[in-house]
Symmetry: C2
Subunit: 154 residues, 2 copies
DNA sequence: GTAATTGCAAATCATTTGCTTCGTA
DNA sequence: TACGAAGCAAATGATTTGCAATTAC
């Protein structure tokens, strides 16, 4: 791998439209509600993991929606493999759209908590297959996060 | 990399002794208390991340120690770089001894929560240096976790 | 002796659950 | 209409904080 494979990715064109995602949800038994649409739109507009707090403070969701409802919908989306829960050092859970092997890796500042999205060919995919063979684990996926002190905080 | 580089690691000889770790802590301004010694011993005996709950249910710590005290000591150890907080899908925080680049990667069952420790040459280290150069982030480190369904749960 | 550490109690904050009402299909 | 989804309130669980008492150095 050479350096040109690695650059910070500020934003990418979404892989799907809100409409297609809504249809996908409906095909898995979910109903089309205002919250579902707003949530999917929010996920499509951010390739960074989103915290429940960020969801609730979003203007299109915010006051109009109960906390428990947000948690329940996120749970239903996760059960169906539409979003993925991401482990985080913060107190609250973070979620991202589940894009399978098109996922991204993150670089997180340990001082200010800022998140940058990295874009490079994932070096772990072949290893993942090897682990699956060795261990017998199924449906393998991975989470890779980098931590450090960003230039502003240093 | 060939397959022989990858095997599941059940347990390893600890990298340090309790005594040397205690001395390290003292050199960073911590006092030698019963909890500190018990905690360091617990960390040395487990290469897996330890949850606060597991710490409190440990016989050598258990009832003899207040919850708030455990949290406060873990915080002091983390500030000094002696342990590292590990992001987790569970509600509670997990910690491991900070072994720098001698860290391990984990394979976690999404069904039963079981954790296996993987032992292989980390494929991310060179990438990490590249990221440091590109982004200007300092003190870089990473967390890599694999998730899947273990043979028992499948 | 002094500053760090602890214990205890109470406060926060995230997340979950029960139950009733509402809205989509 | 029927069942999934939302709203509301209360419960649970993890983590944090204030303050007075204790202990290592």
């Amino acid at each position: 791998m050479n350096d040109s494979c690695l650059h910070i990715c500020e934003h990418d064109a979404p892989a799907s439209t809100v409409e297609s995602l809504v249809e996908h949800c409906r095909s898995k038994g979910l109903r089309k509600t205002a919250l579902l649409v707003a949530l999917l739109r929010l996920f499509l507009n951010s390739i960074k993991p989103i915290s429940v707090q960020a969801i609730q403070s979003d203007s299109s969701i915010g006051d109009s929606c109960d906390t428990a409802t947000v948690y329940r919908l996120l749970g239903r989306l996760e059960e169906r493999g539409i979003v993925r829960r991401i482990g985080s050092h913060e107190r609250s859970m973070h979620y991202v759209l589940n894009l399978g092997h098109n996922h991204r890796e993150y670089l997180i500042c340990t001082q200010c908590g800022g998140v940058e999205v990295l874009d490079f060919p994932c070096p772990v995919d072949t290893l993942e297959q090897k682990i699956a063979r060795k261990t017998g684990y199924q449906h393998l996926y991975h989470e890779l996060q980098f931590f450090g002190v960003c230039p502003k905080c240093a």
